[in-house]
Symmetry: C2
Subunit: 238 residues, 2 copies
Amino acid sequence: MTPQPPPTIPGPELAHLGAGTKAGPRGQQIVELLRTAIIAGHYEPGERLVETVLASELGTSRGPVREALRQLENEGLVVSLPYRGAVVLGVSDEEVQEVLIPIRLTVERYSFAKALGLMTEDDFGELAKQVWLMEQAAAAADLTKSVEADLRFHDVVISASGQTHTLQIWRSIWPRIRAYFYRYGRSSSLQQMAEDHRLLLAAMQTRDPEPVLDLLERHIAVPVPPPAGLKPTRGREG
Amino acid sequence: MTPQPPPTIPGPELAHLGAGTKAGPRGQQIVELLRTAIIAGHYEPGERLVETVLASELGTSRGPVREALRQLENEGLVVSLPYRGAVVLGVSDEEVQEVLIPIRLTVERYSFAKALGLMTEDDFGELAKQVWLMEQAAAAADLTKSVEADLRFHDVVISASGQTHTLQIWRSIWPRIRAYFYRYGRSSSLQQMAEDHRLLLAAMQTRDPEPVLDLLERHIAVPVPPPAGLKPTRGREG
DNA sequence: TGCTCGCGGATTGTCAACCATTCTGAGATT
DNA sequence: AATCTCAGAATGGTTGACAATCCGCGAGCA
């Protein structure tokens, strides 16, 4: 009842992240905020996320926070145990290589093949835009923007394929892969990554499946064996 | 404030389903209830699920219903559009064959291989129990119980593998596959299915990967091409 | 007739305060 | 030393209200 000032999103700890978010329901903004924070490593695996704390930090009520945590759980960034709350999750190198990447391959192979016959000039335009952004980001050595454009590129194609479940699965898979690569070294150079996508786009415009799938496969598969010295944390999973 | 009678779960329409559920938080019970209802075809693809309606039908508040709908969304049984609510989703035959089953194969191959070295005698006991239940159910031609035991069997193994993400992904995948097979004919006979698992269990007890993965692959892969006449609904997806 | 505009109803999203349920850990007891 | 008990902390659930958004429908206009 007290005339409250319009609760702005960012709180003490997370203020520096809440910049580009302003679209859609609160809960969704919180998801993006926390997802970014987790992927960027602001939270360590094993760290607890307490609803009431987050709620007050973010200036919202517990409702949206709960929703956000549920979604993060589906993205595998967090696990929540009944009556015990949410804990940040790690990804093992093995699971990424043996499960997540193969799944990504299955999903993207299917989507790209399917999308080839469906994409409009507009879609290609959007892809070109993302490639351009990627090149800009690469030139500026801006990792975050590179990854952002990369994400959008694939999201456009998979969306265009019009396969509901495939899209849903992809969206639940990629955050873990991102988190993994953020934590344990990068794959190839940003320049290489932009180049990959430029070639991919060019191939797609011919609408010929074979070269597209070929490029795709090489783009995704085992971006690089994990840095030999750095053993990803195992056992912090549960 | 008014001394309310303990709100029992089932409402008018769904009363006949709320039998075996009594464990855990309300929201979880609702998930199981709705999941069963959707898989069993009590809701048609395209049908809307309205929070307030469900809440009053189930004798709870909107909170748990929202949570349940979120989880069903992660299981791909429902899609929810902002400010528009949740609608029941269908699965296309193609997506099952080209995406969901390959993913299931990836997940289970990895899990079974991993679990072989980790399973205790107790775990094997649990598997044997499920096989037994499956045989009983097959003899009684009880589809529901067969599927239930099948599910548990795989869940035990994948849980035993101790791979968090793999388990999470599996749990988000199987409901769609189940829904698909419930809607468009069954694969093989219940007897065959029980037999498959008996052989699988026997092979696992030797702890030799090769025959296990071999059996597994044949058990999962393309349980049967979809019944020729019945074309699964496409386009009711979004 | 065909179009746009805007309104109202329906439904989700959020808030707030409260109680219930459950887990955990620290002492106290045996 | 092992077990029991209890208080604190956190999540799960409830209620009632309000805000934000989408949709369809009808009025007004060309």
